[in-house]
Symmetry: C2
Subunit: 431 residues, 2 copies
């Protein structure tokens, strides 16, 4: 792995190091726009065509129903069921605490304001199902949707060549009380959920990761329809901050867990100890070759780097500029530095907290901002599935208290009808 | 105003009534893309050119400093200062309660998860300043940014022909402790904040309303850079639900307050009483002609309509399909129906709560989702200026409790390095 000394890096060099390719998929824009236009125009018929073309399967209907899902789910072992249920339970426990009611605030006598949560009525979950089958993603999106109380949860996942979905996906659907999975993948699935087809309902917001076609479709939909999206998603990434108390074998395992995702994944080590860094690199070389996805991981590691920092605070300064999706603090002194974290998606504290625990079962959500989006975006949570609506109530006393202020401000903005809406209520002749 | 009977409307007709033109500005896309490209390439020099071209002023620098703002702000009367300060105080009081710390959750023994808030470091506020000068918008964006603790608040507002900003804008800047206003308007201001120029810093998220050029620039920026935006913004709108306890003169004043915003504003009345509806329409005709912005309001009212509903619950069903930015419940029984609100930006309860109170001073935010975006988006709040970062900590006991679950799930997703990151920590030989 390429190694840099923080103190020798100019700010331009740091800028370059932390830069990710924001929109590598722009060249596929036209392709995706065609798919979207085709689904908008031909609906279900386009989806059948794409299933044949991309998923190599001739479907006779665009969904699996409850009985079919139950049949498919039988293939799961007891051990796998228990693992999925433990993950479900932890994720549920953590996300449940995010659903909060808020207090009313009397901003001046007779003027009361508050916010109430309402679930987004119709949400669409995209669950990838091609080479990577990700039941964990289904849990991460389905559980907060259920806790929020969304009325309709539409799930799309690409069909396998047998016209079905994977057994784990089917099992998670049943755990979540979802009775139908729509057999559509790629940008055509996103278009179907944004516009609706005869089979697939139109939704208000679309969630979920996917390949570059899916991501491109989501960003197009977001800027051309009223359907919202969870966030733009790029390749996964981890940044490990380590000091002399870190364990090289753990660091290496964490870097490789990230690297195996895809050749464009990035695994960055920022270490205050050159010795630990060297040992971690040696461990990477030792652990890598025996991995089933070694080829992918190798390319991702080639694309990654190490920064030697003079102190944990220097390391954190670099991390904040990078704004990592996953941040691991591989140090005994993590409690001293969490306060200085500004930009990160999810943080893993100490030597015994691997990122893969958060990917599956610690309870936090694994749908997180990548590509430095952590500067402005949060990961998915129950918040992502609700709106917070503001309410205000004004009494007779309240309108007398606030009225003049509103009149003056409306007047200075030149909005007389705004002024009048208050004046008419303050008039002594009105009821 | 055109009047419909809810019971006679087919679902297609309702669909058509609640439909807003999502993207009327698509034809200006090329113009805006050119402006963005020009600012990206020429920076400050492009901004000077646009100030000359669009704002008709030759600037010698692109900002006003504190001394200049103080000089400009002297023009305000004591009464206006008091009104701005009362608004500030109410908005601050309500928004302050939105900044919450969250509890830690032990999802299983030894596995602890929580969220911590972090301000978005650099935010950009766009404050319109052409024909409409909106100091209230500056308060609505600046106050939550301050409460969130954003490190850098960049403010852009178009220069007037004298090369300055309006006195109210200057005064609000000083109230907020903002010492600089950048003199840039339109899509060029959005581009400058997204990419940064020699004078104007690059920000992580851009907030604020604007004309169709500004809105188009925001949606382009959102899909092509890592800079986020608050929300897409369309023409303002109100939906009033009224029954026989409503006061026609108040309804009319509220409809007209909305209508005076612009010719594309929409003011919808959904009334369970044909008599009250008729009287409200008569009141609109009476109040409209004397307004200074009567011409604008007249065109907006022509673009609006009345629906006669059989009951409040029918009225609410229509409103939920419309998903209004502003919802007024002009009825004594508002407490009985707030629970059935699904989609709305901000809600005004009872006959004495005019929407204009919320526009200025009740305490709620007036930056709200329009064009049916209220189905999936919330209005601006302190939430909009922070990220919620998840944290997790696992102890030795915790890794033993959660380890097997993670191993099984990583295995079934075919991610062996993910599995290994846990296994290596469970090995009895490790520290």
């Amino acid at each position: 792995m390429k190694t840099y000394n923080y103190s020798e890096l100019s700010s331009t060099e740091i800028q370059k190091l932390v830069q990710r390719n924001v929109d590598p998929a722009n060249e596929i824009r036209t392709i995706v726009e065609d798919v979207i236009a085709n689904v908008l125009q031909h609906g279900d018929s386009a989806l059948f065509d794409y299933a044949l073309k991309f998923d190599k399967v001739e479907l006779n209907k665009l969904y699996l129903d409850k009985a079919e899902l139950e049949e498919i789910a039988k293939a799961i072992s007891a051990d796998q069921k228990t693992a999925l249920e433990t993950a479900y339970s932890n994720i549920y426990k953590f996300h449940q605490t995010q659903l909060k009611t808020e207090d009313k605030v009397e901003t001046m006598p007779g003027v009361t304001c508050w916010r109430e949560l309402r679930p987004i009525e119709k949400v669409g979950l995209y669950i990838p199902g091609g080479s990577a089958v990700l039941p964990s993603t289904f849990l991460m999106l389905g559980i907060p949707a259920r806790i929020a109380g969304c009325h309709e949860i539409v799930v799309c996942s690409p069909p396998q060549k047998n016209g079905k979905v994977n057994a784990f996906i089917a099992y998670v659907a049943l755990m979540l009380g979802i009775d139908k999975i729509y057999l559509a993948g790629g940008s055509q699935a996103i278009a179907a959920m944004a516009y609706g087809t005869a089979s697939i309902p139109k939704v208000d917001k679309i969630f979920g990761p996917g390949n570059q076609f899916v991501t491109k479709a989501k960003t197009i939909i977001q800027s051309t329809t009223t359907t919202a999206i969870d966030m733009p998603a790029g390749p996964s990434e981890v940044l490990v901050i380590a000091d002399e108390t870190a364990i090289p074998a753990y660091i290496a395992a964490d870097l490789l867990a990230q690297a195996e995702h895809g050749i464009d994944s990035q695994a960055v080590l920022v270490c205050t100890s050159a010795d630990i860094a060297q040992k971690a690199i040696a461990e990477v070389e030792k652990q890598l070759p025996v991995l089933p996805r070694a080829e992918i991981a190798k390319l991702a590691i080639d694309n990654s780097y190490v920064v030697i920092a003079g102190s944990l605070s220097e390391a954190m300064a670099f991390s904040n500029q990078y704004a990592p999706e996953h941040l691991i603090l591989a140090t005994h002194s993590w409690e001293q530095i969490t306060g200085s974290i500004i930009n990160a998606g999810s943080v893993f504290l100490g030597n015994l907290t691997p990122e893969s625990a958060g990917d599956y079962a610690s309870g936090t959500n694994h749908t997180l901002p990548t590509s430095s989006y952590a500067r402005a975006y949060s990961g998915v949570s129950v918040d992502s599935f609700v709106k917070k609506i503001t309410f205000q109530h004004i009494t007779r006393e309240g309108i007398n208290n606030i009225g003049h202020t509103v009149e003056v401000l409306a007047e200075l903005e030149g909005l007389h009808a705004h002024r009048n809406a208050v004046s008419v209520r303050m008039s002594p002749s009105t009821p």
